[in-house]
Structures are given as structure tokens and as C-alpha cells.
């Protein structure tokens, strides 16, 4: 790649980001391939120009390439009827989320004040989040990019964030949840032994090592799947996971590997 001045490099990075943002959700084109074509194009256009290439030399080339937003194929642009529907859905979704938050407050207060009677009188609003999330996803499904929604996209984000946090920790710690259920009855019985004055050496460490090992192995599996299909996460956590790529999948895999090795070693030492 030709060497660019600081300003030119920043401008080019912004342009490539614009390319990715514009084409990311296009199913009929390969955004990575186009990005590489653009890099090659710049390389060829600027060969022979004095290096580091100044912004004044780069700008005309980018201007001739045009705005990436114009490159989206016509049949992948959001039509106005669907856009209106999606915007209406964001309002409903946001209203449901606001109701969920507002109705959660007195319940949380009741729980904090330990007023079981009051708690039972308040309708549990948890089920409002599910339709809010579904409507937010439907709103996103109606547009090619979230930018099409304009400022209304911010209305769809709160239910998505709440639901995604809930989904994410369940996905990440699924084995821990399953194993905890298996260990809990045994833990209670051991607790009784301890309360009665008995001692069970290293039980907690043993349980934690088992859970950590299982989470580690699970992350290795997740990392391997995501290494092959990083876009899976983009779909599940749309539109917040577009930064995720193979590099991050490898990081997850490595952390999982380290966790599994360390905790299995600890478990072996304790057994």
C-alpha cells in the first residue's frame, strides 16, 4: 500500500468505514471483496504520486469513486412503505420498554423493602420486554441498514440492549448454569455438613474448577464455530456485533483454552 500522510490516512479509513457501513447488510455483494478492490484502486491511482500521499492528492480519487451509499443495489434499498412500518414499530417497541422499566420500579422497590404482599399485587412486567424485543427486531428486519431508520433507531436500541444482555450471558455461561443446577443440591447437603460442624476440604474450589473448565471448553466450541461463521453473531446481535470478526473469535477460543487448561489442572490436583 502506498504510504499516506496522517490526514490522508484518516480520510481513507473513514471512507473504508463508510464502504463497510453501506454494504455490510447487502446480501448480493461481498463487502470484503469490494473493500479490497477499493484499496487496490487507490493503490493504482496513487502510484507515482510523491509519498507520503497528501490529502489533496487522495481526495480527488475518492471523489471520483463516489459515495459508497450510492453503491447499494436498488433491490436492497429500503422502500418507503417498509420504512414507515419499521418506524412505527420502533415507537411501539420503545413504549413497551418504557412501560417495562416503569412497572419494574415499584416491584423492585417492593422486593427491596421486602413487602411480599405488595409484590404480589404488582403485575410482573417482564413479559413486556419480549414483545418489545420482537417488535424492535421486526423494525430492523424491515430496513437494510439501521441508518435507514434515522433517529428512530435509538428507540429500538433499549429493548434490544436489554434482551441481548440477557441472551449474551446465557450463551456465554450456559454450561455454568447447567452444572450449577447439578451441583446445587449437593452443595446444600455439604452446607448442612459444614453447619453441623463438619469439614469438606476444597469442595468450593473443586466446584468452581469444574464450572470454569466447562465454560472454558464451551468457549473453545463457541470460538471454533465463530471462527468459521463470524457473521452468525452479527445476525443474532444485530446491529451491535458488526465489529466482531475472526480475530475476536480466536481471542474467545484462546481464553477458553486457557480457562480449560488451568481449571482442569486445578481439578486434577484436588481430586
Amino acid at each position: 500500500m502506498v504510504s499516506l500522510s496522517e490526514n490522508a490516512k484518516n480520510r481513507f479509513d473513514d471512507y473504508l468505514k463508510e464502504v463497510r457501513d453501506s454494504l455490510r447488510d447487502c446480501t448480493t455483494v461481498d463487502a470484503d471483496e469490494i473493500e479490497q478492490n477499493i484499496i487496490d484502486h487507490i493503490q493504482n491511482e496513487l502510484s507515482g504520486v510523491a509519498e507520503p500521499v497528501a490529502l489533496d492528492d487522495l481526495d480527488p480519487v475518492l471523489k471520483k469513486l463516489g459515495s459508497p451509499a450510492q453503491w447499494v443495489p436498488d433491490d436492497e434499498k429500503t422502500d418507503s412503505a417498509r420504512l414507515t412500518q419499521s418506524r412505527v414499530l420502533t415507537y411501539i417497541s420503545f413504549a413497551l420498554t418504557a412501560a417495562f422499566v416503569l412497572m419494574s420500579m415499584p416491584r423492585t422497590l417492593a422486593v427491596l423493602l421486602w413487602r411480599p404482599i405488595l409484590e404480589t399485587l404488582i403485575v410482573f412486567p417482564g413479559n413486556l420486554l419480549l414483545p418489545a424485543f420482537i417488535l424492535a427486531r421486526l423494525a430492523l428486519a424491515g430496513v437494510w441498514t439501521t441508518k435507514d431508520l434515522g433517529r428512530q433507531r435509538w428507540l429500538a436500541y433499549p429493548p434490544l440492549i436489554l434482551a441481548y444482555i440477557s441472551i449474551l450471558w446465557r450463551i456465554l455461561f450456559l454450561p455454568a448454569l447447567i452444572i450449577s443446577v447439578f451441583y446445587l443440591p449437593r452443595y446444600w447437603s455439604y452446607l448442612k455438613v459444614i453447619e453441623a460442624g463438619g469439614q469438606i476440604q476444597g469442595y468450593d474450589t473443586f466446584a468452581v474448577a469444574t464450572i470454569t473448565a466447562s465454560v472454558g471448553v464451551w468457549w473453545i466450541a463457541l470460538g471454533t464455530i465463530l471462527l468459521r461463521q463470524p457473521k452468525l453473531l452479527h445476525v443474532i446481535f444485530r446491529p451491535f456485533a458488526n465489529w466482531f470478526n475472526r480475530k475476536w473469535a480466536a481471542v474467545l477460543l484462546c481464553i477458553g483454552l486457557a480457562m480449560a487448561i488451568c481449571s482442569l489442572a486445578l481439578r486434577f490436583l484436588l481430586s
Binding site: 455483494v29 461481498d30 477499493i38 487496490d40 484502486h41 493503490q43 493504482n44 463516489g66 450510492q70 453503491w71
Partner: protein, 118 residues
């Protein structure tokens, strides 16, 4: 009046954009017919056609789309001028499709020529 002078005319602009879209695909396929071309070389070839390429970057998504649809394929070749380059060529499906596209275009062109006296 040269068309560049009325480029701010919204009607003309929309019409020209629509016309270019279809023409670009036809021209890209014809540009690589019987040869293999580097992506950048396709852009260079097409930008010499007056009025066809307003935004040069448009060509790359079209190439990508044609590849996805199986009309073109790519091969990576080493280059003496830098990193390896991606070359585009027509597939059998592309060649089979291009022929009726050209006939269709010639029919339209001769029809419009007879109307405009061209």
C-alpha cells in the same frame, strides 16, 4: 445542448441514472468478454466511455454481484507491480447471458436511432 450542462436537471439526472445502471452491467460483461481483466483495469476501460461512469466505485459492487450470480469468476495472479491481483473473466453462464443482452441492446439502439434519426 451538451448533457453535462443540464446535469442539475432532476428529471434528466434520474433518467440518466436509471439508464447507466443497466448499461454498466452490459459494459462490464462486454469489457471482459474473451479476456481476463484486473478490477482496476475494468474501471479504467469503462471510465473512458463518456457519461457512463459517474461514480467509479459503482463498478466494484456490480462486479461482486455478477460474481455472486455466477456470471463472472475471479482468479488471483501474482503481480510484478505489487501484491497479487484479482482478475475477472466471464463464466460459461456469463457468456450465454451476454449474447442475448447484446442483441437486446442492439435492437433497442437501432429502434431509438430510427426515432431520433441517428
Amino acid at each position: 445542448m451538451p448533457y453535462t450542462e443540464i446535469m442539475d436537471n432532476r428529471f434528466f439526472d434520474n433518467w440518466a441514472t436509471q439508464l447507466r445502471k443497466g448499461m454498466l452491467e452490459l459494459c462490464i460483461l462486454n469489457a471482459i468478454k474473451g479476456t481476463t481483466l484486473y478490477g482496476y483495469d475494468i474501471v479504467r476501460k469503462l471510465r473512458d466511455i463518456n457519461g457512463l461512469v459517474i461514480s467509479e466505485g459503482t463498478i466494484y459492487p456490480i462486479l461482486s454481484r455478477l460474481k455472486r450470480e455466477g456470471f463472472v469468476r475471479t482468479t488471483i495472479r501474482e503481480s510484478t507491480e505489487g501484491p497479487a491481483r484479482k482478475y475477472y473473466e466471464l463464466t460459461a453462464k456469463g457468456e450465454k447471458t451476454l449474447s442475448p443482452m447484446n442483441h437486446y441492446w442492439h435492437d433497442i439502439k437501432s429502434g431509438t436511432d430510427s426515432l431520433t434519426g441517428g
